[in-house]
């Protein structure tokens, strides 16, 4: 469930406010910022992290997290290329299935074998990274330029990139599932008090495994989107994805402790990070400073939010 209504609004509004603030300021001093191209660039940039962020939200609300998303994504990209022989569609489907399998394994290790998510997913991250390097023979392998291409760079009405459309479908759908479905609500219960959830007949393990698998599947889909854009794969792709997504989702106000958060808020967090770096590029901020600013912004937003939350306890 959400934090007290007032605070939810406040929490979300804070990020929305910052977003609006940035947009308005930038729109004034750098009109290009609100040019359709740029807007859709940003949307595209956040679409991949956004989709993975959905899975991450499911996990974190249930009290887990997944560091292996980056490797898993590249794993799918690699698999799709290697399986092109089977024909595009089957290759893609298989690749997504493989990623889902990896996610499923994470889930089993965490729930049944009871190894905490950090070690489990960290190992999975290293493991998949290794597999990719093996399959690509430490080089960059590229797919035969294919129909995917039209997808990756095509756009609806020559304006909305298809990848953005995918995200635009995935996010609301799984947002709804998390908010309304029995599975989703059970996740909130589990994250809030997993012992009790067990006691009241909620099947904790399967709910968690499902979230891990979903995350895996979304990594797979993201991997395909990546393929449609880069038409290639190598062990060096997607190194920072995991941490980027997690910090985005955390920034959105989903807690690592579990029990609270939402897909919408997760997306807001990811979006803010995306807009921030785009804004700084457009402001021509030197890269080193970009890092500093980004870091400090992150700290400030989160700290202020948490501080207000704490103050609210004395009411």
């Amino acid at each position: 469930m959400r934090r007290g209504l007032a605070r939810t609004l406040l929490g979300d509004q804070k990020i929305l406010l910052i977003l609006f603030g940035i947009t308005i300021v930038l729109a004034v001093i750098r009109p290009v910022f609100i040019s359709p191209e740029n807007i859709f660039n940003v949307l595209f940039q956040v679409s991949i992290n956004g989709m993975i962020g959905v899975g991450m939200a499911y996990l974190m609300i249930g009290g887990d997290f997944d560091l292996s998303v980056g490797s898993n994504m590249v794993f799918a990209t690699t698999a799709a290329i290697l399986l092109e022989g089977l024909g595009i569609a089957p290759g893609i489907v298989l690749a997504v299935l493989l990623s889902s399998l990896a996610g499923f394994l994470n889930g089993v290790l965490v729930t049944k074998v009871k190894i905490n998510s950090f070690i489990t997913t960290l190992s999975m991250m290293i493991f998949l990274r290794g597999l990719v390097l093996i399959f690509t023979d430490k080089k960059t392998i590229s797919g035969s330029t294919s129909a995917l291409f039209a997808f990756g760079y095509g756009s609806l009405f020559g304006l909305i990139p298809y990848p953005v459309l995918v995200a635009a479908v995935v996010l609301p759908v799984f947002g709804f599932v998390l908010a309304k479905s029995v599975w989703g609500r059970n996740l909130y219960a589990i994250g809030s008090n997993s012992k009790a959830a067990q006691m009241f007949g909620i099947n904790v393990d399967s709910a968690k495994i499902a979230s891990f698998t979903l995350t895996g599947a979304l990594c797979g889909i993201s991997g395909i989107v990546l393929l449609s854009r880069l038409n290639s794969a190598s062990g060096t792709y997607g190194m920072d994805t995991g941490l980027d997504v997690i910090s985005g989702v955390l920034l959105g106000g989903t807690s690592l402790a579990g029990g609270e958060g939402s897909v919408f808020r997760a997306f807001l967090g990811v979006l803010l990070l995306g807009v921030l770096s785009n804004a700084m590029i457009i402001l021509h901020v030197t890269p080193y400073l970009q890092q500093v600013v980004k870091g400090l912004m992150l700290i400030t937003v989160v700290a202020v939010d948490a501080y207000q939350a704490r103050r609210a306890e004395y009411r």
């Binding site: 290009v32 040019s35 191209e37 740029n38 660039n41 595209f44 940039q45 991949i48 390097l133 690509t136 430490k138 080089k139 960059t140 590229s142 291409f149 990756g152 760079y153 990546l226 854009r229 880069l230 038409n231 290639s232 190598s234 062990g235 060096t236 792709y237 997607g238 190194m239 920072d240 785009n278 700084m280 590029i281 457009i282 402001l283 021509h284 901020v285 030197t286 890269p287 080193y288 400073l289 970009q290 500093v292 600013v293 400090l296 912004m297 700290i299 400030t300 700290a303 202020v304 501080y307």
Partner: protein
């Protein structure tokens, strides 16, 4: 101790404001009316080579009255392709791009061409298929550098013996090129040089030291070590010194020609290296850009800096400038 959050928040806000002010201030270099704006898209800006390169590149450009905007893609090919979209959206007059991945960037290059924004690849080549979408390439040839390094190795090893490689990052384009160059050279010279092991270091000297330590334990018969750059070579030498290896006992070859490497060559710790000065290169590429901005084209399409080898014989002629 009681942490007054108000104080902390104030501190944070001040820090943010300060860095933001600094940021926009530092970022803003008002270009003269005539000046054009050029994007310099490095794979990542944290690598030691990049800092000096950006400096000299920018210096030359600004002398000519143009403005440079630096992009940093955190060594993530996916990010680079979207950053390229950003640059295109900002209608740059020219984009100088260092492809992180030779293939992954091609689609984005296509898009840039479609949008009518010229792109020149620099420092590292993209794959040949990219040529239809770029206005030209200037910089060094990673493969060519590899060939020079291989030449140094064959001559110091007498075309035989055992070689261990201290790699940058597995799958990283430059590293792939180096490996290929070595392989080809050894085949061409049908040398009996055997590559004992290749171990990645994530470009971190500290890792290079670890790897070398393990090499020393593992291989009693190791004649030479090829480090993918001079910074790694530095890490290698630390390990050699600690293990009590005599200078020259194990031949070290690197790439870059940085001050420490020159020193090491003089002292005999390194046999040789391949010069790649970020300063000269930055300037070299900037000149090409200026030419393009004037004439609207580049000829020749390719312009590759030569990468002179530095060895004990000629090391005296080079002074450490970076």
């Amino acid at each position: 101790m009681r942490v007054s959050m108000r104080a902390v928040i104030v501190l944070l806000v001040v820090l943010c404001a300060a860095s933001l002010a600094f940021a926009s201030g530092g970022g803003e270099k008002a270009a003269p009316k005539a000046g054009k704006t050029v994007a310099l898209m490095w794979g990542g800006t944290d690598a030691p080579f990049v800092g000096p390169h950006i400096k000299s590149f920018t210096a030359t450009m600004e002398k000519a009255g143009h403005k440079v905007v630096v992009f940093d893609s955190k060594w993530d090919p996916a990010k680079q392709s979207t950053d390229l979209d950003d640059a295109v959206a900002q209608k740059m007059d020219l984009i100088c791009l260092v492809p992180i991945d030779p293939v992954a960037i091609i689609p984005a290059l296509k898009k840039a061409k479609a949008a009518g924004v010229p792109v020149m690849t620099i420092n590292t080549e993209a794959s040949k298929d990219a040529n239809d979408y770029i206005v030209g390439y200037s910089g060094v040839g990673s493969y060519e550098q590899g060939l020079v390094a291989a030449e140094l190795l064959t001559e110091v090893m007498g075309n035989k013996g055992n070689l261990a490689v201290v790699e940058g990052v597995s799958g990283f384009n430059v590293c792939v090129q180096y490996a290929k160059a070595l392989e080809d050279t050894f085949k061409k010279k049908n040398s009996s040089i055997k590559v004992l092991a290749v171990q990645p270091t994530n470009w971190a000297p500290a890792e290079a030291t670890k790897v070398t330590e393990d090499y020393l334990t593992r291989f009693k018969n190791m004649d030479a070590i090829f480090a993918h750059d001079d910074y790694l070579a530095g890490g290698v030498i630390v390990a050699l010194k600690e293990a009590g290896v005599k200078p020259g006992q194990i031949k070290v070859v690197g790439i870059g020609g940085i001050g420490d490497a020159l020193k090491a060559i003089k002292e005999g710790w390194m046999y040789g290296t391949v010069l790649q000065s970020p300063i000269t290169e930055g300037d070299f590429e900037a000149q090409r850009v200026i030419e393009f901005l004037k004439t609207g084209k580049l000829n020749p399409f390719y312009k590759i800096m030569d990468n002179p080898k530095i060895d004990p014989k000629n090391v005296a002629n080079y002074k450490s400038e970076f």
